[in-house]
């Protein structure tokens, strides 16, 4: 037990170090002008998707519940944070103050919505919970689209706070590292274990005295917070944002990233997010078939990780993609 713990700690440090190194390398390439335009324009969206995937992994991988409304949290954070940022442009504050403040504002607003969405899900599980989160995501989208203050149906004009990758990368990098660090720590902490216990057997967890309500809500709140922060960053990289873009289709895209990276695996989510953001750009020529291929790959991966015969077929390359719940046998 001690040995596995040590091994896991080392694995965590490796992950964090790898992510930090990757960010440092990208930063170096960016600031020395050695990156192509296309890659430069992809840096911030990639960072955003990494944070979204890692935060969704908390709900899907650790808590074991399917949340199809994650894009809704991103959108809430985006709009509230960007509104704050736009308001702050009138003051003389530098970007270094404005951006973190608006990210915090966005994250906190999203966290509140995480609580609001988490509440109805307390009594629900599995399919029903998934559909409720989908419904909540759509409700959020509808509300934001109808609000005057967020620009209404035509979207929010963020030209005032528009910034390129060079200015936004430090903040993106910081957010990615923070999210990764928090997730890794949470997984190993007693809170993480409690959450995983709830995932594996809710009734047993309750009978041991775990407050399921508290943990479920905490998971939604934390995941929503990071999604909100990511949203604010995303908002700064575009000149016009419409709430309609953050629908269940986007939530499903993030879910695909999480599933392909391995549920519960933080490094998996990071790698998967990078690959799935970069690959479409690299495959521009075959864009017609891209979504089709994604769908097929998703189905195959689910088969591979769950079906005994397929598992043997794909061998232990799948080990890293197997849902974490199987690992409990090792304990």
């Amino acid at each position: 037990m001690q040995l596995t713990q040590k091994k896991r700690r080392r694995g965590d440090l490796l992950t964090a170090a790898a992510v930090a190194m990757l960010l440092a390398v990208m930063a170096a390439l960016l600031y020395t002008g050695s990156l192509t335009r296309q890659v430069t324009n992809m840096l911030i969206p990639t960072a955003v998707y990494i944070v979204m995937a890692v935060s969704l992994n908390l709900v899907v991988g650790l808590l074991g519940e399917l949340s199809l409304g994650h894009a809704g949290f991103m959108s809430v954070g985006l709009f509230s944070g960007c509104l704050v940022a736009i308001a702050l442009t009138n003051t003389a504050l530098p970007l270094a103050v404005r951006l973190p403040v608006s990210m915090l504002a966005g994250g906190l607003t999203a966290a509140v919505f995480g609580l609001l969405v988490g509440l109805p899900t307390l009594r629900l599980r599995g399919d029903y919970l998934a559909i409720v989160t989908l419904a909540c995501g759509e409700i959020i989208k509808n509300i934001i689209t109808n609000l005057r203050v967020t620009g209404g149906a035509l979207g929010l004009n963020t030209a005032a706070i528009y910034a390129g990758a060079k200015e936004l990368l430090p903040y993106g990098a910081a957010l990615v590292l923070l999210t990764v660090a928090v997730m890794l720590n949470l997984k190993r902490s007693k809170y993480g274990r409690a959450i995983m216990a709830i995932r594996d057997n809710r009734i047993a967890a309750e009978s041991v005295g775990l407050n399921v309500t508290r943990y479920k809500l905490a998971v939604f709140v934390i995941a929503a917070f990071f999604a909100g922060c990511a949203g604010v960053l995303y908002g700064h990289s575009l000149a016009n944002i419409k709430a309609a873009a953050f629908d269940y289709n986007m939530s499903i895209e993030i879910l695909v990233i999480v599933v392909l990276g391995g549920m519960g695996s933080v490094p998996g989510s990071v790698v998967s997010a990078i690959v799935l953001t970069v690959l479409p750009e690299a495959l521009r020529e075959v864009a017609d078939y891209r979504m089709l291929v994604y769908a097929v790959v998703l189905i195959l991966v689910m088969q591979a990780t769950n079906n005994p015969t397929m598992k043997r077929f794909f061998g232990s390359a799948c080990k890293s993609l197997t849902p974490v719940r199987k690992e409990r046998a090792a304990l």
């Binding site: 990156l35 296309q38 324009n41 390129g164 575009l238 016009n240 419409k242 690959v275 750009e281 061998g315």
Partner: protein, 397 residues
């Protein structure tokens, strides 16, 4: 061990994808000055796949046709044109990445985005590069706002909305109208807002306003009932042909015989959408600068060439793209062969271009002045109707 192999494999895939994203461009990304190369590179971003692909493909085809014709006639100042259309699926984030790819390719002149949403973002990105932008179809006002090197071929939304209101007044069609617009669509909402403002000035009352969103564009029974019950003789429908086709199909037989459905250039292509029963489009009045069945020889030639090349009648989007390329040609020639943003922008304000969408001149704010006429559809045939619109309208921003 296997886990590590797998991780290495993923890392290799990542690295490969990054490399496959194009080689580093030679130019430093400023202005796109015409180098000693023999071509002028034009780039456009739009949805070439996905749910909005028909718009992006129209723009691509229209531009391609123009490029082919110009190259066959000797090019621009002796240089051949090269066009690259990049897919954005209508998503602003993808559009910005696509723009990056075009810059890496060495684009000299940018034809902008197709949908208003993505255009705003790419124009913001292009501003930093001092790139000259000849926007084809992004019609929301804000698309080229604040960018002195961005010009536009299509009408901008508030212009069209205002022109529509004036057209109503000038042709004494009705004192009371109903409206159906799509609240989450830039074009529709933009036209609507301008229409409302101008109606207040001209004294036309809007008796009934109904809305819908992209998500609710399948069932219009509520909207139809409300508009029928209001008894208005003209319904203003500043929406796109596809949604209009659904609405009109459900409205058929419910409105009185003499009710007009009055819309903007977004209705272009309506006949094709209701091909199973063209009488669905009866009494549709479309205000447009481009009509594929116009008798103008220039338009006829364009339509014929487009149909031969692509097997379909060109729509507004294709016509705008076609004109955009020809305008770029005129601007480059007027600027003495230079493709720098500043030179082209300076040349634009003194240009007059006779395109398939009309005779165009430009203001310093980038917007174009051209006339629009109204087409009335009956039994699948469109005929000119009433006095020309947009001639009495001030070119207010």
């Amino acid at each position: 061990m296997k886990k590590r192999v797998f991780a290495m494999l993923m890392a290799v895939v990542m690295a490969f994808s990054l490399m496959a994203c194009g080689n580093k461009a030679d130019n430093g990304g400023s202005g796109g000055t015409a180098d000693a190369a023999e071509t002028i590179k034009l780039g456009v971003v739009g949805p070439l796949t996905g749910g909005y692909a028909n718009y992006g493909l129209s723009v691509q085809h229209g531009a391609e046709l123009a490029v082919k014709e110009i190259n066959a006639a000797g090019g621009v100042n002796g240089k051949q044109l090269e066009l690259s259309a990049q897919d954005s699926q209508g998503d602003p984030e993808s559009a910005v990445a696509a723009y990056g790819k075009l810059m890496d390719w060495g684009m000299n002149v940018f034809l902008g985005g197709v949908l208003s949403g993505e255009t705003a973002s790419v124009v913001a990105a292009a501003k930093a590069d001092d790139m000259f932008i000849m926007e084809t179809t992004g019609s929301a006002d804000k698309c080229i706002d604040g960018n002195d090197k961005a010009f536009r071929i299509c009408f901008y939304d508030s212009y069209q909305g205002t022109a529509a209101a004036n057209y109503l007044k000038d042709n004494a069609l009705a004192d009371e109208v109903g409206v159906l617009y799509q609240s989450d669509n830039d074009y529709s909402a933009g036209l609507y807002n301008a229409f409302v403002a101008e109606c207040e000035k001209t004294g036309v009352t809007i008796k009934e306003t109904q809305t819908f969103t992209a998500a609710t564009a399948t069932d219009f029974s509520t909207q139809v009932n409300a508009l029928v019950n209001s008894g208005v003789k003209v319904v203003f429908i500043p929406i796109y042909a596809e949604e209009a086709s659904t609405f009109l199909t459900q409205a058929k037989g419910k409105f009185a015989e003499d009710v007009y459905f009055f819309g903007g250039d977004g209705l272009d292509g309506i006949l094709g959408k209701v091909s199973q029963d063209v009488t669905i489009a009866d009494n549709v009045l479309m205000m447009t600068p481009f009509a594929a069945d116009s008798t103008d020889p220039k338009v006829q030639a364009f339509v014929k060439a487009y149909e031969e090349a692509y097997g379909a009648t060109p729509d507004q989007f294709a016509a705008d793209a076609y004109d955009a390329v020809y305008t770029v040609k005129a601007a480059v020639e007027a600027a003495g062969g230079s493709t720098s943003g500043a030179d082209l922008a300076a040349a634009m304000t003194s240009l007059t271009v006779e395109g398939v969408t009309g005779t165009m001149t430009w203001n310093a704010d980038g917007n174009t002045n051209k006339a629009a006429s109204a087409i009335l559809y009956k039994n699948g045939v469109g005929t000119l109707f009433g006095q020309n619109a947009a001639e009495n309208t001030d070119a207010a921003a």
